[in-house]
């Protein structure tokens, strides 16, 4: 059954991401389960090209990023109509290792409703279409990290 009201939160911020607060905002009386994804800055990367990171510098095309975050939330809700609440937050600015940089949280009445898949879909889509970029500052220099997804018409 589709909930009548779906709290949807999406914003770019320079402040700390408060998981307790965001979870509270997307919890309804009918909510029994939440799946939350957060990404953090890695100080040490082992896979692919092993390296160290001093910090990441994030920037966003803010108004479009917030519109595309809303689109990701709409896509989640369309694919998983039982989702009761969605929060999508991207932090920008200079962010050091171990700092949470992004959060996707989805709530539902029960845990076997696709709530994990919905959160997974959310972070994958954010990394495809939300205009945010990061520059990596390492002991050996600076490097813009570029994605590889080319949005299709209508995305």
């Amino acid at each position: 059954m589709q909930p009548s009201y779906v709290p949807t939160i999406f914003f770019i911020t320079e402040s700390e991401i408060d998981l307790n607060d965001l979870l509270g905002q997307i919890t309804q009386t009918s909510t029994g389960a939440a799946a939350i994804f957060t990404g953090m800055v890695r100080g040490v990367t082992s896979r692919d090209n092993p390296h160290e990171t001093e910090y990441l510098e994030y920037e966003a095309y803010i108004p479009m990023a917030e519109e595309k975050m809303k689109q990701v939330a709409d896509e989640i809700h369309e694919r998983w109509p039982v989702i009761e609440g969605i929060a999508i937050v991207q932090r920008i600015g200079r962010l050091y290792p171990k700092t949470p940089t992004v959060l996707i949280a989805c709530t539902a009445a029960h845990r076997d409703t696709g709530v994990f898949d919905a959160a997974r879909y959310g972070i994958d889509r954010l990394k495809e279409i939300v205009p945010v970029w990061k520059k990596e500052i390492s002991p050996t220099g600076e490097l813009w990290i570029e994605g590889d997804y080319i949005p299709k018409p209508g995305e």
Binding site: Y61, K127, E128, W133, K134, W144, G147, K152, P153
Partner: protein, 82 residues
């Protein structure tokens, strides 16, 4: 002429040397035409135009699209947030 606003982000901004640019363009100019014009007028951007993503008024736009009046056009590399 159609006065549009260009926004540059990430590597494209670094190469353009500016965050924004106001530009007068013909009313029938397409995204492809805009890329050609920028490649010609700003040689630093020529290489970037091959893989750039472009949005018109915050929606992804493609080569054949005609740039509408007073558009906000953004140019940036594939996104890498998260």
């Amino acid at each position: 002429m159609n006065k549009i606003k260009l926004l540059f982000f990430a590597t494209i901004r670094d190469r353009a040397g500016t965050k924004t640019l106001e530009l007068d363009i013909p009313f029938d100019l397409t995204i492809q035409g805009l890329k050609d014009k920028l490649s010609k007028d700003y040689p630093n951007l020529k290489e970037s135009m091959k893989s750039v993503l472009i949005t018109i008024n915050r929606e992804y736009a493609f080569d054949e699209a005609v740039v509408p009046a007073n558009a906000e056009v953004a140019l940036f590399p594939p996104v890498s947030g998260g």
